[in-house]
């Protein structure tokens, strides 16, 4: 049993300083892959370090496997961890760095060697086994740190941005491998990342932190579709969700973004007022003839980015820069005027004051189409 429970956990460094983590309450189940995301400096690493026992818990209770663990020593917790700054032993070579923990745990030499080779194979480290950390590139160091955690096969594993210095290809590969290993050993994984793809694809659940407070916890796709507030909405999804203020008239059932742009939508629960609306870049469509749901509007492009498979272009809505993401490569130039189509069903609506979600987009999946392609 290796569930990790945080009950009202808070953290401050020194008495006079502000809370880094404030009343954090979450229950990470045994064998769960739990992803933590949040802006830089929001307390992710601090949280991991508290779970690992490297930082004392200022307030609240930490339970591991159901037992109060606030005062357990790190080694009692049987955890492995990938540090954000790697924390490799500079005096040991790659091989020794990786098996360091195994020696401590008195794993037999054969087993040690086996795990070492497996991990190095997976991480393309085999050629560097005899190097010292200072003779490695940034990504290689990170991989050593990762290997160290992988070979330990501890029931709980904490990873702090473990793939940040790897290239996309290797990263994609590692995503799969980490997930596989985690499943294989039933590891409880707590995983900090800044990468949208990792956040969306790896975790069973995801937690969004901001300034030491939980913003939302849930399945990644649910969070994507139903962001609890504007912070989550703009933080999850890349490019970020477009937002602006809009006036909803309950009578005419119209969302008025500006005098030219009005969308008709039925929001029975909402009263007439100003809201914040959000629209994801991929929901800004290419106008399709004869689609009654679409509202077509002309915008002037002021910036274009070709990503290869997608094209991002931005334009102004009210005082906000909106970004649209279209498939394929569109050779627009700044200054081009184009027509885009919006669909009221795809809007998220947030309260203007509390910034909480009051209505989320209703079009997420391609149910009908899906039927078409499924054999």
């Amino acid at each position: 049993m290796s569930e990790v429970e945080l009950l009202n956990v808070s953290k401050l460094y020194g008495n006079k300083q502000p809370y880094i983590i404030k009343n954090l309450d979450v229950n990470i189940e045994s064998g769960e892959f739990f992803v933590i995301v949040g802006p830089s400096g929001c307390g992710k690493s601090t949280l991991l370090r508290m779970i690992a026992g490297l930082e004392n818990i200022s307030e609240g209770v930490l339970r591991i496997g159901g037992e109060m663990a606030n005062h357990w020593s790190p080694s009692q917790r049987d955890i492995s961890m990938v540090f954000q700054n790697y924390a490799l032993y500079p005096h040991l070579n790659v091989r020794e760095n990786i098996v360091f923990g195994l020696r401590v745990k008195k794993i037999s030499p054969e087993e040690r060697e086996k795990r070492l080779l497996e991990a190095c194979e997976m991480l393309n480290l085999t050629a560097y086994l005899n190097r010292k950390p200072r003779e490695l590139s940034g990504g290689q160091r990170q991989r050593v740190a990762l290997a160290r955690a992988i070979v330990s096969q501890s029931p709980i594993c904490l990873m702090d941005e473990p793939l940040s210095n790897l290239d996309a290809k290797l990263r994609a590969h590692m995503r799969g491998e980490i997930r596989k290993i985690q499943r294989q050993f039933g590891t409880t994984m707590i995983y900090v990342t800044h990468d949208q793809v990792e956040a969306m694809t790896m975790g069973d659940r995801m937690m969004i932190l901001n300034q030491g407070k939980i913003q939302q916890i849930g399945r990644p796709i649910d969070i994507y579709n139903h962001p609890a507030n504007t912070f989550v909405a703009s933080f999850i999804g890349s490019p970020q969700m477009n937002m602006c203020e809009a006036y909803y008239d309950g009578n005419s059932q119209e969302i008025r973004i500006n005098k030219d742009l009005k969308l008709t939508m039925t929001l029975p629960k909402l009263k007439t007022s100003t809201y914040i609306i959000g629209l994801r870049p991929e929901y800004i469509h290419i106008p399709q003839p004869n689609n009654p749901n679409q509202t077509i509007v002309q915008v002037e492009i002021n910036h274009v980015e070709l990503l290869g498979n997608d094209t991002l272009f931005s334009f102004q809505i009210n005082d906000q820069q909106w970004i649209a993401k279209w498939n394929g490569q569109w050779l627009f130039e700044p200054g081009d005027k184009i027509s885009i189509a919006l669909d009221a069903d795809e809007l998220c609506v947030f309260d203007k004051d509390t910034r909480q979600l009051v209505h989320s987009s209703t079009r997420q999946d391609h149910d009908e189409l899906q039927k078409g392609v499924l054999a």
Partner: protein
Amino acid sequence: MENPTTTGQVPSLNMPYRTFWEKTRRFQVALLFLLPSLILFSVFVFYPLFRTIYLSFFLTNQKGLPTVFVGFDNFIQLFQSADFLQSVKATFLFILYTVPASVVISLFLALLANEKLKGIHFFRTIFASSLGVSVAAASVTWLFIFNPTMGVLNRIISLFGIQEINWLADPHWALLAVSMTTIWLNLGFSFLIIFGGLQNIDQSLYESSSIDGAGYFYQLRRITIPMLSPTLFFIMTVSLINAFQTFGQIDLLTGGGPGQTTNLMVYAIYKDAFVNFNFGKASAEVVILFLLILIVTLLQFKFVEKKVHYQ
């Protein structure tokens, strides 16, 4: 993945001519930094050394001036002299007694002082305190501690029913007694240095290994000691050299006796130079001592520094 897009002609590598002045720039800069040291060393270390080497080939008169050139006679005589060989032996024994013990004990103290406890600052200061006491004052104090009848040491051992020991006058014990004093004297400094080294070790290494479940001694063996190795190497080298050159304690505690068991080389040199005013002989002794230290230190650098891990 052969044949990358670079197919351009190899450009004519017209290395502009660099003058000797430019090529040795780094050396010049280094020299600037080293200049104050070099000048002072030349005047106060190398010049006396050369003078010493020069004198070692002469007999000197009572004013210490060279008079008769005797070639290697001074050296030959030294190697034939039982006294000198005894002092070499005593020196090595003394090193054996003091250096490892000082390093190990101060490492132990530093580790203790590295614990995060309330009031640890106080203990750190105490541990370093012997550094604040001069050799002379310390030796005098120890002289009383070693006093065969009233000394604390004998009082304590007599509590255990052990016979009183004539620490400083018994040839079996004198060198040990002097070593004990020396270790105490060294502790403050070695402690301070090792403690500083300990505190400089990146904390995240301990964090990482404690997560791996490494216990205290495992960390000590596999992280602390290797990471501390530059410091340990330093303190070992310095202690070694200092041990070779111990003088004050001997002078005050035993005067080289009993039976020359504590007549360390530097003390012998001092006697030859200051009391006997036999500079030729003293110089030859210095040269031999110098070479001995040189060899030992070279061995240190050659074999031990390999094991030292620098960042």
